[in-house]
């Protein structure tokens, strides 16, 4: 996938883009529908997100994120604009006030982000059901942790501690890349 992105960025390669599109566009559309857009609007927003993928391909940095992660962030940001008409204050890695490295953990090889993605997927698969469910609700159902607590009828503290547990497991799964 990352190789395809490089072809899109450097060579404006339409066949490479078509491959990315075939895999990601239907998933982005599914994601946007679950977040609450109707099918038609979801399709339009997917097109806009994929247009961004084409236009900003040179911003993709394979050391930092997998293609799926990068496209997720684009689709997420579009959905914030779409659902709430709010902007998203972004962390900028070239901010001169940044404390520490821009890349918090510089990947050791160009392929590390891709490997990380595989390990992360496996780790998500082994999360206890109640933790995985919270992650899905947070990412797919446009629900904040307090909204989740309300709709699941759980104490806020329980939601927080489950999210914390889930995160520590995912963190452990990545560990240092060696």
């Amino acid at each position: 996938m990352a190789d395809l992105m490089v072809l899109v960025a450097h060579d404006r390669d339409r066949r490479a883009f078509a491959e990315l599109y075939a895999w990601f566009a239907p998933r982005v559309k599914g994601f946007l529908i679950r977040r609450g857009l109707d099918a038609q609007r979801a399709e339009e927003v997917t097109q806009e997100a994929m247009l961004t993928v084409w236009r900003k391909a040179d911003r993709f940095d394979r050391r930092q994120a997998s293609v799926a992660t990068w496209i997720f962030t684009i689709a997420r940001n579009r959905s914030i604009d779409e659902l709430r008409r709010e902007k998203r204050p972004e962390i900028e890695l070239d901010d001169p006030t940044l404390v520490g490295d821009g890349l918090a953990q510089p990947a050791e090889t160009a392929y590390a982000a891709g490997q990380e993605a595989e390990r992360l997927k496996a780790a998500i698969g082994t999360l206890p059901e109640e933790q995985a469910r919270l992650l899905h609700m947070a990412f797919f159902e446009d629900k904040s942790h307090s909204a989740i607590a309300e709709s699941e009828d759980l104490p806020l503290g329980t939601v927080k501690s489950r999210l914390r547990l889930a995160l520590s497991k995912l963190r452990a799964a990545l560990g240092p890349v060696h």
């Binding site: 566009a25 994601f31 097109q47 962390i91 990412f139 909204a147």
Partner: protein, 240 residues
Amino acid sequence: MEHHETMGPQHHMPEAWLVDYAAGTLDEANALLVACHAALCPTCRETLRLLDATGGALLEDQAPVALADDALATLFARIDAEDAAAEPARPGHRPGHQTVDLDALLPAGDGTLRLPRPLLAYLPTAPQDLPWRWNGPGVHVIDLAVGRHPGTRTVLMKIGAGRAMPQHTHKGTEALMVLAGGYRDESGDFFPGDVAISTGEVDHRPIAHDDGECLCLAVLDAPISLTGTVGRLLNPFIRF
């Protein structure tokens, strides 16, 4: 009052807020606070990177929903049309970012002071011209227009060196981050990047450190209420 420079902040964003930020469900004001904290905190920045990657992994797992048959062709046609309409070259600078000298903001304290970039887009004026409003002895504030969440206030707050906020508690949640200088209250010392989340259970009297003004960014979803004896008299006048 040692400042633990290399370690980054000691008081972090709650992880549930980081999840909300990464998932895109946090309102804009609190998201601004997260982005500012993350600029100063390598630890939370790494957690956010992990969470973005989680979003990517979940996206790949998402059940696909087919687009129109000609969706890709339509997109390429749109790309061609846009390319053909000779686009004027875009200037390199990004809208909303001010390139003023931020060191002018606080005359006292650290000469290398800079504000996290996500905040700059929300300042109503250049930092040295900010229209500070008196809000009690030694305390000045400015309301920032951030987001559309009803009832949420975003406030830039400046406490003079060694000066105290009036004793108060909170009717809702107050999320506060130190941008420059530092303060102390019943729960400890807070330095740049440190976050304090206070609710109705917290009754405190933050006092700026003696060595300079303390600049904070605060997001409140309900007013505070003054609890000290003098404070109760001031309640009608101090708008928080």
